[in-house]
Each structure stands twice: as C-alpha cells, then as structure tokens.
C-alpha cells in the first residue's frame, strides 16, 4: 500500500502525547516544547505527503476509470465487536475531505506548536508552569482530530469526537487555578457531551437498521457500508416511521445535533465563547480551525445519506442560516476580541453548514450528476480557507493579548504603530474573511453564496447579508484594535511585535490566506470524488464584493477614528444593543435550566427523596423491629407472679371456654 505510512501521521502525535505526558514532566520545559514541535513537523510533512499522494497520485484503487477519486482504506482492524455484523473498527480511510483535513489540521497544529513556544512564556522568556502538560495535550488533541478525520466508520468518529472533547476540556481548563477557566471547560464539555448523546442515539438508530457502522464495506466482512449505496441504506430505515418522520430522518437529525454541538450551532453554541478562557493558541487550533468544524465534517461525511433525506437537510439549513446571522449580530457588539472572533467563528461555521444543506436544494438536481455538489465543495473549501485565516486571526489576537495583557478592545486601540507585522497579518485575515478578492475567503464564500442562490433567492440574500455583516464586524475589530485612537501604554513596557516563534506562524498563515483561494478545490474536494466544473458567477461575486465593501466602509466610517457615532447608535437602540451584547440571554437561559430546573428541581429533590423516603423506609423497618422487640422484651419481665397471673388467666379462659362447650 503506498499510503500505509499514513498510520505514522496518527501514531506520532499519540506517541508524543504519551512521551510528553509520562516522561516530559521530568524534563526541561523548553526541551519538551521543541520536541513537540519536531514531532509535529514530522507529522506535518508526512501528512502533506499523504494528501498530495492521494490527490495527485495514481496508485492502485485511488482513481477509478472515470477519473473519480475513490476512498482508500489504508488499514482497518477490528477494535471492538458488538456482534457479528456490528463491529467497531479503528482504521484509516482517505478520501478527498479526509486528505484535505489532514492538511488543515497538521498545518494549523504545526503553526500553533511553533507559536506556543513564544506565547506560553512570560516576557523574560521563561516557560509557564505546566508547559510540558500543554504540549502533551496539544499532541493529544492533534492525535484525536487526525483520528477523527480518517475514521472509517461512524463509531470511530464518535470515539474521536469524545477524544477531541476531552482534549478541548483539558486545554480550555489549562489554567486550572482560574475559576473562569474551570467553569468554561466544564461548560464546553457538558454541552458537547449533551450533543454527543444525540449523536450516540443517532448512531444507535442508524446501526439498528443498517447493521453497520462502516462508511464503506470492505472485503473482510462482505457487508455493505453506509455509503456504498446510500439509497439502500436509507431504504432500510426509511420504512419505519416515528412521529411522522422515518427512522433515518431521526437518526440523521440526531447525528446532526451531535455535530451541531461540536460546531457550536445555535442553540448549542454557548460553550464556544466561554472556551476562549483557554490559552489563545488553543483557541486558534481547537476553537477556530479544527475541532469546531468536526460537526461540519460529520455532516459532510454522511452527505450521501443527507441528500436523500430532505427533512434532515432542511433542519440543518434553517439552523445554519439562523446561526450565521445570530452569531454575526452578536459579533458586531462584543468588546472582548477573542469573544468577537469566537462569534465570528460560529457564524462562519454556520456558513459551511448552510452551504452543505443547500446542496440538496432541488430534488431534481439529485438526478443530475454533480448538480448538487457545489454547496458541498464550497463548504469544504470554506472550511479549508477559514481554518487558515481564522487561525491567523486568533494567533494575531494572541500576539496582541500577549503584548497588552488584556482581552478587552478598550485596552488596545492604535496598535498599528507598535505592531506592524501583526497589524498587516490581521488585515489580511480580515480581508480574507470579508471576502475581498483575491484573498482566500472570497473564493470559498463566493461558491457558498452561489449555492445558496441556487436553492432560492431568499436564502441567497440572507447569506449575502450575513456576509456583509461579517465584513463589518471584522473591520470593526480591526479598526478598534489598530486605529481608533492613540494607544495608552498601560504596562511597564510598550507593546511590540512578538518574537519570531510567534511572528513566523503569522507570516506563513497570512501567505496561505492570500494564496489558498487559488487551490483548485473544485477538482479535488467533491462529494463523489469526481471533479466539479465550476466557473465564477460574476453576478453573485460582484454583488458580494460590493456588499463586503459596504460593510468595510461602514466600519471605517464608524471605527477608524475615535468618534461618538457608535456610542450614539448603541444608545439609539439600547435594548437591542444590550441584548446582543449579552448574547441574547442564551447563557442566562441555560443557567436557569441547569441550575434552577435540573440542579435545584431534579437533583436535589431526588437526593432528598433518596435519603428521606427510600432510606427512610429501610430505616423505618429497622426502627419498627427495634420498637417491637423492646415492646416484647417487657413481657419477659422475670417476675414469676406476672407469669403465673397470665398463665392463670389464660388457663381460666380456656377452662371457661371448655366448660361452655361441655355444658351447652
């Protein structure tokens, strides 16, 4: 197998984790970081090799006669046999999106590894406490995420969903002495866990009907996988209906909810903004570029099933479109730079989700080969570009935070003069996300908009509007940080560009953000492996660039120079502004449900019930036995006269009764 060395891509991070976790604690801090980076570098190189071989190689089984890229299962041993048919395998499967994700994950992870060498040190260059732990967890996360994308079956995805969830938990809670970090990590874990519950139920339903977890059947067991023939998979579960929907629709909806939890779709998005309590490179890696797109990846993975089950797709579409707008609206008013970026991430992921969902807009298109692959391709392409420029933005934010020691906008202002490289990098990121050609975001977002317009004019306009908002809030952040007014130095030293370990990743990522748009994604990443022939739709492209420019212009007008316009606008619709600032009170709602309803309303009564009623019952049994025993003990008085008295009366009664019988 030419691709068999893919296993090294997965194994190296795992070994790094075990090594750094078990041995690293005793080692010099910096050394562990450098070891981590070297390990990651090897992984990255290998992953690039794998991806390039896959995309451009012509090895056996990779490309079919029609030029369609096949999924390649590199190896696939049994891991856990539930029954003869239901077997969880731990394998490596490469297909276009998996190969693409390998590149995304390793690239961003490499950048973050490198960046963290600088970021996780104080200003004197001393590594922070827990440096080794940090690198171990990063390796663990990378391993989990790579395992997720190369999964050969649904259950493997679930397993690695859990793994990334835990690595995310550990990394968010890295500063475990800060209550906010603990709280945020707990929240992130529990919310995603709740979503995973739905995912699990979805898997249970799906596997019950199809009797397989595998995406593609293999020669080993001779059982067709889920995606070998999606129509028949759906047909197996289609007949059974529950509350008006087929079992397959339920299963797919539940699986989507699982993905929505990881991908922070409304209303399961609440963990993501809080997750920014973690170190910023972690936010860049996990909560911007890789883990949060796991949900999108999941839906994309099961895309052949989703396109058939229209009901599930509609739900995704609505949730995605709403989330995109909702998060963009909140991002417009956030004052914390990382939170604003987090909401921007939510909004962009929602773009991807919507893009996937609009793919099956027209039932007719299913018949026409390739007709509905545009949205899918666009979504994956956007996933790729977004990972690059969002990681860039987060790393820039990290550099800024490292320089000014605060997350709040009003501590920043006017940093352009002090941190030019960061400023330029950030600007490139903003231009990319806003969709200005020729930056990466333009190409991918444009395709998404085209796909949305294909579904319907309404969807298109809605998404265009959100795209405009994106441009606005990104440049709001940019202007507020780097311009607005002169910087007031709060700390003992002036902010400046950071050391090369932190700057180099910025430059690399900025370069990628510029050029990534020219990657021929349409030829590489399509849902069925066949190249997709697309061309730029100038109407959509032109209008979206225009809208983006309007957004940028508005942001320029409001935020380039210090003025009172934003304040006045906020005052004019104070209620709306506050609501948006407080994220439309979703956190309060959750807080109410978890604390008041579940904790106070369910857990406490149950605990009380247990102690009072159930335990009380058994204690009562003991109590009654005790009381009765003591009562009976009194009869055993030891007084012979008492005994005789009782005996005598008893004998008398007996005599009386006998006498009566005898006499009458």
């Amino acid at each position: 197998m030419p691709l068999s060395y893919t296993i090294a891509v997965i194994a190296i991070p795992l070994l790094m984790f075990l090594f750094l976790g078990l041995v690293g604690v005793k080692m010099e801090k910096k050394l562990t970081g450098i070891l981590g980076c070297i390990g990651m570098l090897v992984t990255t190189v290998l992953a690039y090799g794998v991806a390039l071989t896959y995309f451009f190689g012509t090895g056996e089984g990779q490309v079919s006669a029609e030029g369609v890229r096949q999924a390649v299962t590199v190896f696939n041993p049994d891991w856990l046999s539930f029954s003869k048919t239901l077997v969880v395998r731990m394998g490596i499967m490469l297909d276009p999106i998996a190969a693409m994700m390998l590149i995304v994950i390793t690239t961003v992870s490499m950048m973050v590894h490198l960046y963290s060498l600088g970021y996780m040190c104080d200003h004197h260059g001393h590594a922070e406490k827990g440096f080794q732990r940090y690198y171990a967890f990063l390796a663990l996360f990378t391993f989990s995420m790579l395992g997720l994308v190369v999964a050969t079956n649904l259950f493997q995805i679930f397993i690695f969903f859990e793994m990334v969830g835990v690595s995310s938990y550990l990394l968010i809670g890295f500063y475990y002495e800060s209550p906010a970090a603990i709280h945020a990590s707990k929240k992130a874990f529990i919310v995603t866990r709740l979503a995973d519950l739905f995912f699990l139920v979805g898997i249970l339903i799906l596997s019950y009907y199809t009797q397989t977890f595998d995406f593609f059947g293999s020669d080993v067991n001779g059982i067709a996988g889920l995606l070998d023939n999606p129509q028949s998979s759906v047909a197996k579960a289609g007949a059974t209906t529950f509350m008006g929907c087929s079992a397959m629709a339920w299963a797919l909806t539940f699986i989507f909810i699982g993905g929505a939890g990881k991908s922070a779709m409304y209303p399961l998005h609440i963990w993501l903004p809080d997750a920014m309590e973690g170190p910023t490179p972690v936010s860049a890696l996990i909560h911007a570029a890789t883990m949060v797109v796991a949900g999108v990846y999941l839906v994309a993975r099961l895309f052949p099933l989703y396109v058939i089950v229209q009901g599930a797709m509609d739900i995704i579409c609505v949730v995605g479109a709403f989330t995109a707008f909702y998060a963009a609206a909140i991002a417009c008013v956030q004052s914390d730079i990382k939170r604003a970026l987090a909401f921007s991430t939510i909004s962009q992921i929602a773009f991807m989700m919507t893009s996937l969902a609009v793919s099956s807009a027209d039932g007719k298109l299913i018949e026409i080969h390739g007709g509905y692959g545009l949205g899918y391709m666009a979504s994956m392409f956007h996933l790729f570009t977004h990972a690059m420029f969002k990681a860039l933005l987060f790393l820039c934010a990290g550099a800024i935070i490292h320089a000014v020691h605060s997350n709040e906008n009003d501590k920043m202002h006017g940093l352009h003069k002090y941190m030019p490289i960061t400023s330029f990098a950030f600007l490139i990121g903003c231009l990319a996300i806003a969709g200005i050609p020729p930056f990466a975001g333009f190409w991918s977002k444009d395709e998404i908009l085209v796909a949305a317009y294909e579904k319907g004019l309404g969807w298109g306009i809605w998404m265009s509007m959100v795209a405009g908002m994106t441009a606005f809030y990104m440049f709001r952040i940019y202007f507020l940080i780097f311009h607005w007014k002169k910087h007031e130095v709060h700390t003992e030293h002036e902010p400046s560009d950071q050391p090369w370990t932190m700057t180099l990743p910025l430059i690399i990522l900025a370069t990628i953000s510029i050029v990534a748009g020219f990657v021929p994604a349409a030829n590489l990443v399509t849902w069925d492996g066949a190249p997709l022939h697309t061309q730029l739709n100038w109407t959509v492209a032109g209008s979206s660039v225009l809208i983006a420019c309007v957004g940028i212009g508005l942001a320029y007008k409001m935020y380039y120079k210090e003025n009172t316009l934003p304040q006045r606008m906020a005052d004019s619709c104070r209620g709306l502004w506050t609501a948006a600032y407080r994220r439309f009170y979703m956190d309060e709602l959750y807080q109410f449900i978890t604390h008041k309803v579940i904790f106070q309303g369910i857990c406490k009564p149950i605990a009380k019930f247990d102690r009072a009623v159930i335990d009380g019952f058994f204690n009562m049994l003991a109590e009654v036995t005790n009381t009765v025993s003591f009562g009976i003990r009194k009869l055993q008085s030891g007084s012979i006269q008492g005994y005789v008295y009782v005996y005598f009366i008893g004998a008398l009664l007996l005599a009386a009764v006998t006498a009566m019988f005898v006499i009458f």
Binding site: Y645, F648, I649, L652, A655, A656, A659, I663
Partner: protein, 171 residues
C-alpha cells in the same frame, strides 16, 4: 343419711379449712401465716381420716405438718427479723390477685354446680385398707403397682437432699 357426728365433723373441718386458708394469705405476719398453714394442713389430715384413709392422714401430719411447716418456720426465722411486718400491698396488685382468685373460684364453682347431679353423689361404702395391701401396691410391679413411681420419688428425695446440702452449704 350420715351420722350427725360426721356432719358436725365435716362442718368443723370445712370451716377451719376455709377460715385458716383465708387467714394464711391475708395475715401480714409471715410467722402467723405459717401457723395458719399448719392448721389448714391439720384440717386436711382430719378430712383424710374422715374419708377413711388413715394412712394418708398420717402421712399428711407427719410430712406436711411435721416436716414442711417446721422447715417453713425455720426459714422464716432465718430470713426475717422479729416483728417484721410484710409490707403493705399495693392495692392494684391486691385487686388483681383478688380478681384472678375470685374469677378462678367462680369459673370452677360454676362448673361444679352445673354438674350438681353428679356432685350430689353420696359417700359409698368402702372396705378398710390394711397396710399390707398398701405396701403390696407400693412395691409391686403388677398392673396397679407403684414401684416405679416409688423408686422415682425416692431418687428425687435423694437428689433433693444432696441439692439441699449443696445449695445451702456456705461457700
């Protein structure tokens, strides 16, 4: 028709049994109680004589009146200081005892009287029982012989003697 002497004798016996019985259990001086018991036992012995069981009457006087009452008197003297009165009884206790006793007497008496016909049986004639016959019965192993109980009682008495010695011995 009984002889008048017999009837008078009966009344004397019956009255003394009743009166002394009651006095035995009501007097507060324990020594007097033992004395009244002696009288009851004598009356009983008299009753046996009247029943034409002279041997039994003799045994009654010898063992009971002569032995047991003496034992009682000795033990009373050993445990009681002179002039000690038994403590005043708690009235509820007394009442309960009285109720039990009277109820017992009532029930039994009722049963007796409801068998009045049967109870009204006259004293039949009976030949004298000479000591030889008695001795034969006591030591015979025939159908109506009592050798086994006799021996059992003798062993019991032996055990009793030993037990008495062991218990009463000062350690």
């Amino acid at each position: 028709m009984e002889s008048v002497g017999n009837i008078i004798m009966y009344f004397v016996i019956a009255l003394s049994i009743i009166v002394f019985s009651v006095l035995t259990v009501t007097t507060r001086k324990i020594l007097r109680s033992a004395t009244y018991l002696l009288f009851v036992l004598f009356a009983t012995a008299a009753l046996y004589f009247q029943m034409d069981y002279p041997f039994l009457g003799a045994v009654q006087i010898a063992v009971y009146a002569g032995g047991i009452v003496v034992l009682f008197v000795f033990s009373i003297l050993l445990t009681q200081r002179p002039g000690d009165d038994a403590a005043q009884l708690i009235s509820t206790r007394r009442w309960l005892g009285a109720v039990a006793a009277i109820a017992g007497v009532g029930v039994t008496g009722y049963a007796l009287f409801s068998y009045a016909k049967f109870c009204g049986k006259q004293l039949p004639a009976m030949g004298d029982i000479d000591m030889a016959t008695l001795g034969h019965f006591l030591l015979s192993t025939d159908k109506w012989g009592y050798l086994l109980p006799f021996e059992a009682v003798s062993v019991l008495l032996l055990a009793c003697i030993i037990g008495g010695v062991v218990i009463a011995r000062r350690r």
